[in-house]
C-alpha cells in the first residue's frame, strides 16, 4: 500500500478504525454496562425492597419453595436466587411449559418479599440485560444479521488492535511520555496511552468476542470439516454439561430444599451458595442442584452439589471433562463476561471497558484533528466525508451516553401500566440517539460538542433527583439504609455527570485559548463569527479568499 510496512499498517489502522468506529464505540459502551447489569436492573425495578439482613437463608429458601409450589406447580424447572453481593433481593424464576411446537418454555421471574414471601409487583422493564445484550444483538435487526455485523466490526477491531501494536514504535517507552498538550500531539498521546494501558483487555475482549460465534463466522470451514451431527457432538465436548434429568412422571413430595441447603453447607461451609436449581420438581426423579458462586476464571468442574429431591440423598455427578481447546475457549468466555469477578475486579472491568470506549473515541477525534488544518484551507468548505465524521463523532461520543441515560429516564417517566412499556424504553433511547446524531448538522461543530457535553452533564447529574421525584428509593433513603447497590447507581450517575461537566469546562477553556492565540496573530475580532468559525475565517484570510 505505502512505501514501508509500518506506513501501510498505519494506513490500514486508520481506515479500519474509522469505518466501524462508531459501532465499536456503541458495542464497548453498552457491553461495559453488562458488568453491572444486575445492579442496573435492580435500579430499574424500584418497587424492589431495600436490603434486609435479618432473615436466614434457610427461611428464605422455605419461602421461595412455598411460593413456587403454589405458583409454578406446572413447571418442572425452578430457580432460586438467594440475596448476594450483586442482587440483594430474593428472586425466583421458573420455566413455563413450552408452547405447542416450541422446544423451550418462557422464563418467568418474580421478586419476593423476604418477610411475607409474596410477589413484589415490579414494573415491566427489560432492565440492564437488554442494554448489555445490545452489544451483540443490535436492537432492531434480526439475530442473524446482527451477529454478522457485530462479527465484521469485531474482526476490524482485532485488525486495528494488532496493526496498532505494529505501528507503535516505542510501545513501552511511550507509555511514560504523555505530553499533556492540546491539539494533535495531545490527542495522539491520549489515544496511545488508552490503547497501551489496557492492551491485554482490548485483545482479550475482541478475540473472545469472535470465539462466541465461532461456528457462525467460520461456517464454511465448519461445514466442510464436520457434519451437523458431528458438530452437535463436538459442541457437547466443548461445553460439557451434567446429564439432563428425565421425568419419571410419578408425582412425589419433595424434601424441604432448606434441609438440603443445610447438608450442602456442611460440605461447603465457607462458600456462598446463592443459586439453586430444581429439575423435575415434585417428580419421582426430582433433582436439586446447589451452585457455588462462580469464583474461578476457568469453569470449575466441581462447582455444584446435587441431591435427589425426594430422598434427599446426594447424587455424585461425574466430573465434567474439558478438552484443552475447550478450556481455552471457556476460559476466554469467562474472561469476557467477568462472571467470576468480585466487586473490585468488576470495577476494574468497568474501567478497562470504558478505557476501550475512550480509546475508540480518541481515535475518531484524532482522525478529524489530523485533517482539520488541511480541510479548513478548502475554498468550498470542508469535504462531505470530513463533516460526516465530525458529526457522527459528536452524535456518538457525546450523544450515545446521553441516549443511554434516556433509557433510564424512560424507565422512570413512562407510566407504570403502559402497554409495550419495555419496547418504548428502548425506542426512547434510540430516538434520543438519532436526534443527537442529527443535531450537530445544524450547529457549528465546536458549539455542538459543547452543548451536547453540557446536556450530558445535566441529564446525568439530574438522574438522582429524578429518582427522588419518582420513587421512594432515593439517595436519602438508600444511603441511610446502607443499601449500596441502589445508592451505587445514583452515585455513579452523579459522577458521570460531573465528568461530563469537567470535560465541557475543559473544552470551553481550550476553545477560548485557541481564540486568544489567534487574536495575538492580529486578526480583527470583528471578523470572528463565533468561537468555532475562528479558524475558518483565519485560514480563509490567510489564503486570501
Amino acid at each position: 500500500m505505502k512505501d514501508t510496512f509500518r506506513q501501510s499498517m498505519k494506513w490500514l489502522h486508520t481506515w479500519v478504525g474509522l469505518v466501524v468506529g462508531w459501532i465499536l464505540f456503541f458495542m464497548f459502551l453498552t457491553g461495559t454496562t453488562g458488568y453491572f447489569y444486575e445492579e442496573i436492573t435492580r435500579w430499574m425495578e424500584p418497587e424492589r425492597p431495600l436490603i434486609t439482613h435479618k432473615v436466614s437463608n434457610s427461611q428464605l429458601i422455605d419461602k421461595a419453595q412455598n411460593y413456587l409450589e403454589i405458583h409454578a406447580s406446572e413447571s418442572q424447572e425452578w430457580h432460586i436466587f438467594l440475596p448476594n453481593r450483586r442482587d440483594s433481593n430474593l428472586k425466583v424464576s421458573w420455566r413455563e411449559q413450552p408452547e405447542i411446537g416450541g422446544t423451550r418454555g418462557k422464563k418467568v421471574k418474580r421478586i419476593l418479599d423476604v418477610h411475607t414471601g409474596e410477589d413484589v409487583h415490579i414494573r415491566e422493564t427489560a432492565g440492564g440485560r437488554l442494554l448489555y445484550r445490545m452489544h451483540y444483538r443490535l436492537h432492531y435487526l434480526s439475530t442473524k444479521i446482527s451477529y454478522w455485523i457485530v462479527g465484521f466490526c469485531t474482526m476490524l477491531m482485532l485488525l486495528a488492535v494488532i496493526t496498532g501494536v505494529v505501528i507503535h514504535k516505542k510501545i513501552f517507552s511511550d507509555f511514560f511520555t504523555f505530553r499533556a498538550k492540546k491539539g494533535l500531539p495531545g490527542w495522539l498521546d491520549s489515544h496511545n496511552v488508552l490503547s497501551v494501558i489496557a492492551l491485554p483487555y482490548h485483545f482479550m475482549i475482541t478475540y473472545s468476542g469472535l470465539l462466541f460465534f465461532l461456528f457462525t463466522y467460520m461456517v464454511l470451514s465448519t461445514n466442510i470439516q464436520v457434519t451437523d451431527a458431528e458438530l452437535d457432538e463436538m459442541k457437547d465436548e466443548i461445553y460439557p454439561r451434567s446429564a439432563k434429568v428425565i421425568l419419571g412422571n410419578i408425582n412425589a413430595t419433595m424434601q424441604p430444599i432448606s434441609s438440603l441447603y443445610t447438608k450442602t453447607k456442611e460440605i461447603w461451609p465457607n462458600d456462598n451458595l446463592e443459586f439453586i436449581e430444581v429439575y423435575a420438581a415434585n417428580d419421582i426423579n426430582a433433582k436439586v442442584i446447589f451452585s457455588r458462586g462462580v469464583t474461578d476464571i476457568t469453569y470449575n468442574p466441581i462447582d455444584e452439589l446435587s441431591f435427589n429431591g425426594i430422598t434427599g440423598h446426594r447424587v455424585i455427578e461425574p466430573e465434567l471433562d474439558y478438552t484443552i481447546a475447550g478450556s481455552i475457549q471457556n476460559g476466554f468466555f469467562s474472561l469476557h463476561e467477568g462472571q467470576f469477578a468480585n466487586t473490585i475486579t468488576r470495577w476494574v472491568y468497568i474501567l478497562t471497558g470504558l478505557i476501550g470506549a475512550a480509546m475508540i473515541a480518541s481515535g475518531l477525534v484524532l482522525w478529524t484533528t489530523k485533517r482539520k488544518p488541511q480541510q479548513l484551507k478548502k475554498v468550498n468548505g470542508a469535504d462531505f466525508g470530513y463533516r460526516l465524521v465530525e458529526q457522527l463523532n459528536i452524535g456518538t461520543i457525546a450523544g450515545l451516553p446521553i441516549a443511554m441515560a434516556m433509557y433510564f429516564y424512560a424507565n422512570r417517566l413512562l407510566p407504570v401500566d403502559m402497554a409495550e412499556r419495555v419496547e418504548w424504553e428502548a425506542h426512547i433511547m434510540f430516538i434520543s440517539w438519532a436526534l443527537l446524531l442529527i443535531y450537530p448538522a445544524f450547529r457549528p461543530k465546536g458549539n455542538a460538542w459543547l452543548e451536547q457535553l453540557i446536556l450530558g452533564a445535566a441529564v446525568f447529574t439530574f438522574m438522582p433527583i429524578l429518582n427522588v421525584l419518582t420513587t421512594n428509593k432515593h439517595l436519602g433513603v438508600t444511603l441511610n439504609h446502607g443499601d449500596w447497590q441502589y445508592a451505587g447507581f445514583d452515585l455513579t450517575m452523579l459522577f458521570i455527570g460531573v465528568v461530563f461537566a469537567f470535560v465541557a469546562l475543559k473544552f470551553k477553556q481550550s476553545q477560548r485559548k485557541k481564540v486568544s492565540k489567534k487574536h495575538r496573530r492580529q486578526v480583527p475580532l470583528t471578523k470572528m463569527k463565533g468561537v468555532v468559525d475562528t479558524e475558518l475565517v483565519l485560514s480563509k484570510a490567510s489564503s486570501g479568499v
Binding site: 500500500m1 510496512f5 501501510s8 499498517m9 494506513w11 490500514l12 474482526m155 482485532l158 485488525l159 494488532i162 496493526t163 505494529v166 478475540y207 469472535l210 470465539l211 465461532l214 461456528f215 463466522y217 467460520m218 464454511l220 470451514s221 465448519t222 466442510i224 470439516q225 464436520v226 458431528e230 457432538e233 463436538m234 465436548e237 466443548i238 478438552t323 484443552i324 481447546a325 475447550g326 481455552i328 475457549q329
Partner: protein
Amino acid sequence: MEHKSLSVFTKFHFINPRFWVFSRVVAAMFGGYALATSSSLLIGQLLGESVGKYQAVHISLMLSFLLYTCAVMWVFSVKSAKKAWLGLIVANVLCLALTWALMQLVEMSR
C-alpha cells in the same frame, strides 16, 4: 505505488488508485476469508491424528481469526493489488492441495 506502474491508462489516472484500493479491500475481505478457511482445513487435517478430530477442528477454527488478520495485513502491505491477489490465490491453492495430500496419506495409512 501501483498507479505509477499503470500509467499506461493515463485516461483513468484519477480513478485508478481508488480502484486498486477497492480491489485490495475485496481481496482482503473475501480472499482473506478464503485463506482463513483453507488454512483452517489444513490445520484441522494436520492436528487430526494427534488430538482427535473434534479438537483439531476446534483449534483450527479458533486460529482462523488470527490467520485472517495476518492475511489482511499482508494484502495491504505488498507493493501492488495484483501481487496481493496472486499471493492469496497461491496460498489458497497450496493449503487446499496440502490438505488433500494429507487426506490421501491418512487414507493410505489406514
